[in-house]
Amino acid sequence: MAEQRTSFLDLQADDVAALATAQDAPIAVPADYLGTVVANLQGLWRHAAVVKAALALASDAPAPTGPFEP
């Protein structure tokens, strides 16, 4: 899967819809379901924003170094 130039986390809400049809999109979305994919993408952007905001409150938390252990 090709890497994107811009991190998904750096996008603004208004940019998300354009992402699905961008020249450098990581995957081509057929026009028939572009609308529903964009709706899902916007949902994921909102979820990512929630996590980003929560992490900002715990900025000293270290990045994980190994597999998750319950």
Partner: protein
């Protein structure tokens, strides 16, 4: 006979009250009679199962040793490898794959204990859903009300047990896929600690989050099955009685875990909390972000797993699954990294709660079973997607891999509602012991519908 549970059947066969062949024949009679309405099964293994039953009967007649699940019929979600069958994982994309060469190890363990595999069960495509309204194979209908969903993604596994077609089934749970259908169909479902049970031979969805586990209609039944599935290390059943009598400090999660819950669900939760003398309003900070992180990780990993097929044949997916997987393809690696980082933070927050509580309590789903095809439901005054919301209380818990017994509150004649009994990591025994205590007090119980569909 169909009212009998796992332990009842095993005891009846061991004592020669029934033959295994009689039990398996009755199981297939139930499938033929009832499954046209429920649509839980996608494959039945009549010849093999009857052959296994006859072999078991011969072993018993010859006085050879038999296992603790001897003659117990069971079925598995169709993402488990079954030797000789193609592992569909709810899709048509995989229907031309070669048949599995061997059973998944968990099936092998159940068979080694004498259980008899009778079929494969319907699910949301590739386990990405909470409703089992499968685009290709049809919806699995809730045995309590055939107009309603069974929950998902292990909807066939829950419905087959709730309809008393089989007393035992296996499913998988990435974000709630054992617990949600257990709640909506009114049966017990156990999601063990992340990594506890072998996932080999189970078609993956999200490697970071996938769990596997059993469904049954009583705590004793699910415990004996769990002990067999773990391979016999540290069995829970021998000490379950004693443990259920021990004092338990229980915290009922508030905040995120009750927001938007329907009155019937809150009332059921309150009965369980009262029976366990739970401390109310315990807050797990960050549950909303944990759920969001689970959403992101699921879409990210799911999209990468399906990358080749999404590019080559996206139109062959269930549309509800396809659209979410395609959206996940746009998530960059740092989104997954962020989710994994937040996972450790939330884990530490919840771990701190276990310093004060042996067990945490939460509702399983915010509502009773929605109607099939219902697109939205009201949550906190907002219309939200049914498909994405049924896991609102389950996702934060599986995100950090905690063991959970999903237990049906005793509501005879009413649509089922369930609770999550959430234990510290590797302490499935505590969740099962609390379940047994509640079951003996009449607070939780599977109440299969009296009438056949």
């Amino acid at each position: 006979m169909n009212r009998l549970g796992v332990l009842d059947i095993a005891a009846a066969i061991a004592s020669r009250r029934f033959s295994a062949e009689t039990v398996i024949s009755e199981t297939f009679r139930r499938i033929v009679r009832d499954d046209h309405a429920i649509n839980a099964f996608t494959a039945v293994l009549a010849d093999q199962a009857l052959s296994d039953a006859r072999r078991l009967d011969a072993d018993i007649a010859a006085g050879r040793p038999i296992g603790p699940l001897a003659g117990v019929p069971f079925a598995v979600k169709n993402l488990y490898d079954i030797a000789g069958l193609t592992t569909l994982a709810g899709s048509i994309i995989r229907k031309d794959e070669p048949p599995a060469l061997a059973d998944a190890p968990l099936i092998t363990r159940l068979k080694a204990a004498g259980a008899i595999l009778v079929g494969a069960l319907n699910m949301d495509e590739f386990a990405y859903g909470f409703v089992t309204e499968n685009h290709h194979y049809g919806p699995t209908r809730n045995p309590h009300d055939l107009t309603r969903v069974s929950g998902g993604s292990s909807g066939g596994s829950a419905a087959a047990v709730a309809a008393r077609i089989v007393p035992l089934s296996l499913g998988s749970d990435t974000n709630g896929s054992i617990r949600v259908p257990a709640a909506l169909c009114g049966v017990f479902g156990l999601k063990p600690t992340f990594g506890r049970l072998d996932r080999t031979g189970v078609f993956p969805f999200v490697d970071s989050l996938d769990h596997v586990g059993p469904f049954a209609r009583s705590v004793e039944d699910i415990t004996v099955a769990y002990d067999v599935l773990t391979g016999g290390d540290h069995p829970v059943a021998p000490t379950l009685d004693a443990l259920s009598e021990q004092p338990l400090r229980v915290g009922a999660l508030g905040g995120w875990f009750v927001q938007g819950a329907f009155p019937g669900v809150l009332g059921s939760l309150s009965r369980v909390a009262q029976a366990l003398d739970a401390t109310p309003g315990v807050i797990a900070p960050g549950a909303e972000a944990a759920r969001s992180a689970a959403f992101c990780l699921s879409a990210y990993e799911g999209a990468r797993l399906h990358d080749a097929d999404l590019r080559a044949r996206a139109g062959d997916y269930d549309p509800a699954v396809r659209d979410r997987l395609l959206a996940g393809a746009f998530l960059t690696d740092d989104v997954a990294g962020m989710a994994q980082r937040y996972r450790r933070i939330f884990q530490a927050e919840v771990r701190a709660l276990f310093a004060d509580y042996d067990l945490l309590l939460a509702p399983t789903v915010p509502c009773l079973a929605p109607v099939i095809g219902q697109p939205t439901m009201m949550l906190n005054g907002q219309a939200v997607s049914v498909r994405q919301t049924l896991g609102v209380y389950t996702q934060p818990i599986s995100f950090i891999g905690l063991p959970v017994l999903a237990a049906p509150v005793n509501r005879p004649g009413a649509l089922p509602a369930g609770v999550q009994l959430i234990a510290p990591p590797w302490r499935e025994d505590l969740a099962l012991a609390a379940g047994l205590r509640l079951q003996r007090a009449g607070v939780v119980a599977a109440n299969p519908p009296e009438s056949a569909p």
